[in-house]
Structure formats: structure tokens, C-alpha cells
Amino acid sequence: MIRDPWWFRALRGFAAGALILWLILPLVPLVIWSFARGWRYPDLLPQNWSLQAWEVALSGRSGVLESLWVTGLIAVLATALAVLIGVPAGRALGLHRFPGKAAVEALILAPLIVPGIAVALGLHAVFLDLGLTNTLAGVVLVHLIPTLPYMILVMAGIFANYDPEIEEQARSLGASPLAIFRFVTLPAVLPGIVVGALFAFLVSWSQYVLTLVIGGGRVLTLPLVLFNFATSGRNDIAGAISILYVAPGLVVLILTSRHLAARPAFAAGVR
């Protein structure tokens, strides 16, 4: 092993410090604004601190709490559907080779790469005819476009490391298909399903343009409310909502930190 010269280590240290600072930086004014009461140019820090923004955000009148529930409900429903549909598909892709596999994989990858606006406007016309625009059900359906492919890819990765031989052994011992699923398959893949579902929840939680187009401004999720406060100059309330909005991601990270240490690319699908 060749030891690095001192200047190289100094450069590394400087770069690491700069990277850490840059990653934290945009979150700092959001936190400060949420506790500020009038923070005018050119004050570096607010003259007066207050909890007013938080009181407004957490009161029933501002609509923030309501949109918090709406956002969570949509994300839970979209995730549940993504798990139900995505786990079998992930098993098929992770364990088997079959004709047309490359085409199926491309179809599943495509929604993760094609931008939401390109899909949302086309879907809007169809959902309009079906009466699904401006409804919660319509938004849940459209959130499947990013969450389901993510869940399938995660499960394909989980099943690629799963040995189905153990199911054969259970079968030869007389276990029913249901018992095999309940006592053999499920316990083996459950940790992967849980982590995948937590991140699928975040994928739905982060959606903006799909909700805007299909929800038509009637289904108000947190990012839409945040956008409105930020663009109308209520920086203090926007700061408080931003913190509320980021919190689930932090919770998921803490819950899954052990898993992520082994598979760092797991979280990359959220973006």
C-alpha cells in the first residue's frame, strides 16, 4: 500500500468538508425560516425568533395537516398495491429466465426514466373520460407508475439471492402451497419487502407533477401546499412544511440503516 503524501490528505480533508457543507447547506435556511419572525435583508440571522410558522402549519386552518394525511394515505395505498403486484413480478424476474425477459425489463425500467409530465398529460385525457381526474383514486393509480417499477426491481434483486430449492424440500415433506408461502417463502423475503415498501412509500411521498396533473389541484398533497406557500412568499411556513415533508425520509433511513450499509444503491431508486 502506497501512503498518500501530506498534501493529498489535506486536499481530501478539504474536499470532504466542502462536500458535507454543500450537502447540508440548502436545508439550513429552511430550518431557520421556520423559527423566524420576519427575517429581512440584510440580517444574517432573524432579529426575532418565534414558533408562529409552526403554529400556523399545525393548526387545522392552514390545510397542512389535512394534506399531510392525504399524502400519507395516497403513499400507503400506492405502496400496498405496488407490493401486491410487484412481489410476484419481482420473483419471476429474479428467479427465472424466459423468452421476452429483456423486453419486460425494459418496460419496467421505462417509467423510472421517462419524466412524469410526458406520462401525466396523456393520462389526463383518459382519466378525464373515466372520471378519475381530481380524485384520490386517480392519484393513487398514477402514483403506481413510479412506485410499482421500483418495487419490482427491488424484489427482483431480493429474489436473485433467494434459493427456491428450500420450497421443494417443504413440498416433498407434504406442505401445502399456502403453508410453503406462509412458513418458507415469506419469512425469507419479508425483510426485503419491508425495506422496499418503505422506499416505495417515499417514492410516492415525493411525487409532484403526477399529483398536480391528475389531482387537478383538488387532491392537495404536501408538496403542492409547500409550493403554494413558497411561491406566495410565506417563507416561514414553507420552512416548517419542508421539515415536516423531509421527516419520513429521515425515519426510513434510520429504520433501514443496517440494510443500507450492505446495499448502498438501494436508496438510489428514490431520488
Binding site: 458535507i20 429552511l30 421517462v114 398529460l121 423531509v246 448502498p264 444503491a265 431520488r271
Partner: protein
């Protein structure tokens, strides 16, 4: 039940849902952009979009945003992955902040950038405190600016951890042996990186860059928060045309989204090629 039938049944719900929602949406967008009512199908909407004086500047701006931010994110992402891979100080903090950043929704990052870089934002105040500027107008326009600097800064903030995480995973899978051999044979640090490590991580780097490019080209909320009123990023222009009171511009809006979809299709192709090389 035969093996292939079982596989087909496991895949059918997923393929149906993605095919109908995603594939169907693209087909409808394409058909409606070609539909001119009684006259049947025509390229009239595309001709109108091309003749629209806002379109080409929008396209150029959006391409600039996606291209510049992706190049910068790829370079800094590889640098950051190299930093985290080394055992230097701050490794845990960088890893945690990388993962945290991935979970932060784009709206939040864009608003944070707005409060940092606007003419009355944190950096302008800092400039005032150290006597560089007097009034907010003295601070350079980094948001709502024609060069989309604020938008690019946001993407670099979000995509460096994304590209970095993908590349880091690949570096860890490769291991340090190849570079160590090169170094022991007399390669410089740069040569070992350029001729040994970089070719090995290139497929992952290209794949992640293709995803970043497609995202930056098609995202709505970031340019809506940080962008200038003219020219607007293509997704913003498309949405404004779609929601204009004049319903006649809807085919034009759909034509613009078809352009966005086609460009992201190219990126999907690039991603699949890179993924095949990765094996």
C-alpha cells in the same frame, strides 16, 4: 402448470398495470398530438410548436440545464464516491448525508436553493455582511436567471449523491485490487484512476447519468420554482400550454411532451446499453 405459464401469471398484473397506465398514456399523448379533429391525423401541432417563438429557446434552455447539470453531477459524483471509498475522516457523515439527500423531495431542495441564492437570500446577506454588496440588486442573479444557474445548482445538489451512490456501489463490487496492481507496477494515482478504475465504473456512471439527464430534462417543479419567466423550461411551457384557457393549444402541449418522451427514450436506450455492458 407449466413453468412458463406460472411465470406469465406472476408477471401479468405488473405488465398489465405498467402497460396500460404508462404505455397507454404515451400512446394517447402521441395520438392526441397528431389528432386535428375532423381532418384526421396530421403533424399540424408539431408544425405549430416549431413555429412557436417560445419553443426553440425553451428546448435549448432545457437541454442546457440537463446537459450541464449531468456533466457536473457525474464529475462531482465520481469525486465524492472516491472520497467516501477512502477511509478518511467524515466518511460516516458523508454516507449519511448522501442517503438523506436522496430522500429529500426535489421541491424542498429547490426552495432551499431559492432561499440560499436569491438576491435577498443567505449568500446575498453574507455578501452584505462582508461588504461586497450594498443592495440586493447588487447580488448576481442566480435564480430566475436566463442561464438557469439556480436550477443547475439544485440538480447538482440532488444528483451528486445519486450518481455517487451508484458509482460507489460499483467501486465496492470491483474492490481495490486492480488499482493496487496498477500502482505497484508504477502507475501514478491519476493513471490508475484514468486507465483502470474509470473504465470499470463507466457503465454504472453512464447509466446513472442517463437517468439524471432524462429527469432534469423532464422535471416540472424545479424550473417552476427557480426558473426565469422567459424562456421557460420545456415541461413548464408544456404544462402552461395544456392549462391555457384556449383548449386549442392542448395538442401543442402534448406534442411538446412527446418531444420530452422521445428524448428520455434515447436516454433509456443509453441506460440499457450501459446495463448490458455491466452484465
Amino acid at each position: 402448470m407449466t413453468q412458463n405459464l406460472r411465470i406469465a401469471l406472476m408477471l401479468a398484473p405488473a405488465v398489465l398495470v405498467i402497460g396500460l397506465l404508462f404505455g397507454g398514456a404515451l400512446v394517447v399523448a402521441l395520438l392526441r398530438s397528431l389528432d386535428t379533429g375532423d381532418a384526421g391525423f396530421s403533424l399540424a401541432a408539431y408544425a405549430r410548436v416549431l413555429a412557436n417563438p417560445d419553443f426553440l429557446p425553451s428546448f435549448a434552455l432545457t437541454f442546457h440545464i440537463a446537459f450541464t447539470s449531468t456533466i457536473l453531477s457525474a464529475a462531482f459524483g465520481v469525486g465524492a464516491a472516491l472520497l467516501i471509498r477512502g477511509s478518511g475522516a467524515g466518511r460516516g457523515a458523508m454516507t449519511f448525508l448522501f442517503q438523506l439527500n436522496l430522500t429529500v423531495p426535489h421541491v424542498v431542495g429547490a426552495i432551499g436553493m431559492l432561499y440560499l441564492f436569491s438576491q435577498s437570500g443567505s449568500f446575498a446577506r453574507l455578501g452584505h455582511a462582508i461588504g461586497l454588496i450594498e443592495r440586493p440588486a447588487d447580488f448576481p442573479a442566480l435564480v430566475f436567471d436566463p442561464h438557469a444557474i439556480g436550477i443547475i445548482l439544485h440538480y447538482v445538489w440532488k444528483e451528486v449523491p445519486f450518481i455517487g451512490t451508484v458509482v460507489l456501489a460499483q467501486m465496492q463490487a470491483i474492490g481495490p485490487d486492480h488499482e493496487a496492481s496498477a500502482r505497484s507496477l508504477g502507475a501514478s494515482r491519476w493513471q490508475a484512476f484514468r486507465h483502470v478504475l474509470l473504465p470499470l465504473i463507466l457503465p454504472g456512471l453512464l447509466g446513472a447519468s442517463a437517468i439524471s439527464f432524462a429527469f432534469a430534462f423532464g422535471a416540472y417543479e424545479i424550473p417552476a420554482i427557480l426558473g426565469a419567466s422567459h424562456p421557460q423550461a420545456l415541461p413548464v411551457l408544456a404544462w402552461r400550454s395544456y392549462t391555457a384557457t384556449d383548449l386549442a393549444t392542448r395538442p401543442d402541449a402534448l406534442a411538446m411532451t412527446v418531444v420530452i418522451a422521445l428524448l428520455s427514450g434515447l436516454m433509456l436506450g443509453a441506460y440499457l446499453r450501459a446495463a448490458r455492458r455491466r452484465g
